[in-house]
Symmetry: C2
Subunit: 297 residues, 2 copies
């Protein structure tokens, strides 16, 4: 007598893995099933870049700190010694060059980055914490934009954590690359007007270590280091496909303070503590509430 199920499937979220063609033709993000068969990493049509064979060049992308907020950039990137993803030398159009993107949650990201951010990955998918939240400036209020995210390897290494030293060590060469996935923000396409007044939050993106994931989650290798990236694409009126997307039509933003190591269980106890203290869903593990656990017995 309980009515929850439904004869036809209902896509609850519009955020999924996508083929590039589907991305631009529908402007949305709902081609769940079709996408699995036609996944193409962003790099493939952007330019040959870092994803499968990351370069070791430690050159900071010029766009990376562009509008990264009013905080002190030195403090957030001071410990960031690993080579960053070199964003390929894009020649944006004058119009796209005006776009700025800032990381809204920079203060919290900085705290994690100082300790060495870790993100749990699970078979069913785990959210990121902190969440990537960005604001845009310089967009055309009348235009439409697709905002998306991906996560690319920082280097070609596999890591392990030395508990006795409380530090990360290189443990060898990276595992084979996994199918790259784009997370198109489910509210895409945005109007420029919306982007100017709203923040774009990637809170619903999920990370998994399941190579066969069917949910469109981003697939990562455990014990590898990753860099999230945010992309914005200006949507042409009815270009049927993105296959012929030109480099002037999109921008990529990288925030070095969002680098993290994918793990199946937290390694650094300080990271665990900071997660518990700052993530509302982990409130049950905070010191103050754990004292009252005894009282409940």
């Amino acid at each position: 007598m309980e009515y929850t199920a439904s004869p036809k499937p209902q896509l609850s979220s519009r955020a999924n893995a996508f083929s590039i063609a589907a991305l631009m033709s529908s402007g949305g993000s709902k081609e769940k099933e079709a996408a699995e068969n036609t996944i193409k990493p962003l790099e493939q049509f952007v330019e040959k870049s870092s994803c499968p064979q990351p370069l070791a060049e430690p050159s900071l992308d010029s766009q990376a700190d562009f509008g990264a907020g009013g905080g002190s950039p030195s403090s957030s990137s001071s410990l960031c010694t690993e080579p960053l993803i070199p964003t390929t030398p894009i020649i944006p159009s004058e119009e796209m060059a005006k776009i700025a993107c800032s990381l809204e949650t920079k203060e919290l990201w900085d705290k994690f980055h100082e300790l060495g951010t870790e993100m749990i990955i699970t078979k069913s998918g785990r959210r990121m914490f902190p969440t990537i939240r960005v604001s845009f400036a310089g967009v055309d209020p009348e235009a439409k934009y697709i905002v998306l995210m991906d996560i690319v390897p920082v280097d070609n290494k596999r890591y392990r954590y030395a508990y006795h030293r409380s530090s990360w060590l290189v443990a060898g060469k990276a595992d084979p690359p996994l199918p790259a996935r784009l997370y198109v923000h489910p509210d895409s396409p945005f109007t420029g007007e919306q982007l100017l007044k709203q923040m774009v939050s990637f809170e619903k993106v999920k990370l998994t270590n399941n190579e066969l994931d069917q949910h469109g989650h981003i697939i990562l290798n455990s014990m590898h280091k990753y860099q999230p990236r945010v992309h914005i694409i200006k949507k042409k009126d009815h270009t049927a496909s993105l296959l012929n997307l030109k480099s002037e039509e999109f921008r990529t933003f990288i925030f070095p303070e969002t680098v993290f190591t994918a793990v199946t269980a937290y390694q650094n106890q300080l990271i665990t503590k900071l997660k518990i203290d700052s993530n509302p869903f982990a409130k049950g593990f905070r010191d103050s509430s754990r004292l009252t656990d005894i009282e409940r017995e």
Copy 2:
């Protein structure tokens, strides 16, 4: 130290009240603030129809039962003696005329309809139960469609419930009409392909009695009888506005078994019982679980 708030507002849902112009120009449903000032009932540009001055003509709309499911239509409409909203004589294009819409949750709606469906309305907004869920057939897989819903008065009366007789009585003339609102399905625009394989569920629509509601909920008068309607609009490639929308470009579907009376508290106890037994969120009030309440003491 807890990070949940954000400097800029983030629209969590894209479903809101809309101006028609905003509806078609963006194809989305996000003009939250602007919409409050430019609300126009669908009727206003569709045709002069029922909303403020409902007709008393008990003519069943020809589209109403069109594809209303495989159930027995006689049982669901047999008790439906109140005059239905006469959908104005639309002349759809050949293409739009092919579109069929069926109510997926018809069996449950029938059960409620036999008792006289009631829907709670609150200041903060209350979901409908059952939920309106529809499937479409005959759409062009390559086209894009906006799917929306509204709720119009069934008649010009105000009702009251006679407890001793367990029946509804006419209590006078209807209260002044409230600002009409459209609920654009948050996944709009849909591709025809999506509509053919997915169901469209209006589970997130909320009803309120707050005339000053700022959340885009549908505003209703308590103790009045209403008819939900589902509309589908074929989106032209980049028609900037819907102001010049022609009747051939959309279709309206009405399911008589979804008529309900808006209430601030349930009147018919049989309705209360059926809600408790069929809505998962009311499981705590079911007979079986209420027996175990005693055990918990």
